[in-house]
């Protein structure tokens, strides 16, 4: 562990650079444009689900991991128990 952390110790600046590039690219893309994609997705997903099931806002959980070329969006929808059996 110690040796490994010693060897990897040298360059933390490149990591910082890469993290900044990713987060700034996303922030700049949002600036000016009114639509925050995640917000829109959440609203639309809520609307679709609500058409079939009675659902509360906080039953949709969105997790995001922004990447360089690919970002992943994880969407958890908590359905009331009896609904699942109906469908």
């Amino acid at each position: 562990m110690k040796l490994l952390s010693f060897l990897t110790r040298r360059g933390s600046a490149p990591v910082a650079r890469e993290r900044l590039q990713i987060v700034l690219a996303h922030e700049r893309a949002l600036n000016g444009s009114s639509g925050d994609l995640v917000r829109i997705l959440q609203e639309e997903i809520l609307a679709v689900v609500a058409r079939h099931v009675k659902i509360e806002r906080d039953m949709v959980q969105i997790k995001l991991d922004r990447g360089d070329s690919i970002s992943t969006l994880e969407i958890d929808i908590h359905m009331p128990g009896e609904v699942v059996s109906v469908i």
Partner: protein
């Protein structure tokens, strides 16, 4: 019972965000449930220091304005599962934080966590006063330098007058965290010494965090220093400070003088 802690300073750039992340992580590493809350609306940085910047979906302002539930905005740390982050928003609207909204969010956080740690923005304006408003105790982050000490004195005045506790006539617990401390320079009389700062501000000392490259490295890689370098001098100093916050009596060790000498001899090139 939950404790709400504000990390504040008046002066900018003294180490509030660094200390929020490190103390929050240290408490969580010790098994406490902790949320760190970024109050620096418009200039959020705690997400970067915690390494969660890619995962921000909703923020404090979204929760206050009802666009998201608290549970949707909280980001669970991937390394320590008792640690969470509530990010600030990047909005330029200064009135995005309402006193009622902040009160509601803090009350809700109190139910979920042992510690609610609020990272205050610099200054003495709205953002800073809202961050301290509901605190049970405060960590006043100070650098051993005249303007920082003066600003800390003003913040102590606000803590004793503008907080809910103060208005109820209760005592506000305040702790001094001396950061970016350079023993060599203090000994050479180039920097205020710990005793000087303590005498002037007269609040108890929570810890002395030495100036260290480990802090820069930690922020580069997006990790609280207590996680990335727990055995480093600043890492150990933050762990000790966290234990003191929990009421343990831990003697304050002045940052090692020999280390100061070594740094003086070999650290020149870096400086």
């Amino acid at each position: 019972m939950a404790k709400v802690l504000v990390v504040t300073s008046g002066k900018g750039g003294v180490g509030k965000t660094t200390s929020t992340a490190a103390l929050g992580a240290a408490l969580a590493q010790g098994g406490q449930t902790v949320v760190v809350v970024d109050f620096d609306v418009g200039l959020r940085n705690l997400d970067l220091v915690m390494g969660a910047e890619r995962r921000v979906v909703f923020d404090l302002v979204n929760v206050i304005q009802g666009d998201a539930k608290l549970a949707q905005a909280l980001i669970r740390d991937k390394r320590v599962d008792t640690l969470s982050l509530l990010p600030a928003s990047q909005t330029r609207d200064k009135d995005a934080l309402t006193p009622e909204g902040v009160a509601r969010v803090i009350a809700e956080l109190r139910e979920k966590f042992d510690w609610v740690i609020c990272d205050s923005p610099a200054g003495i304006e709205r953002g800073a006063t809202l961050a301290m408003r509901h605190a049970d105790l405060a960590v006043v982050v100070t650098n051993p330098e005249v303007s920082s000490v003066r600003d800390s004195d003003r913040i102590i005045g606000l803590l004793d007058s503008k907080t809910e506790r103060a208005e109820r006539g209760e005592r506000m617990e305040k702790h001094l965290l001396l950061t970016r401390y350079d023993t060599g320079r203090a000994n050479r009389g180039e920097m205020l010494k710990t005793e000087d700062v303590l005498e002037i501000l007269s609040i108890p000392l929570l810890g002395i965090i030495p100036e260290s490259q480990e802090v820069l490295r930690a922020s580069n890689i997006g990790s609280p220093v207590t996680l990335s370098s727990p055995d480093s001098a600043p890492g150990r100093a933050y762990f000790d400070a966290a234990r003191r916050l929990r009421g343990e009596v831990v003697p304050v060790a002045a940052p090692d003088e020999k280390r100061g000498l070594v740094q003086r001899l070999f650290g020149r090139r870096v400086a």
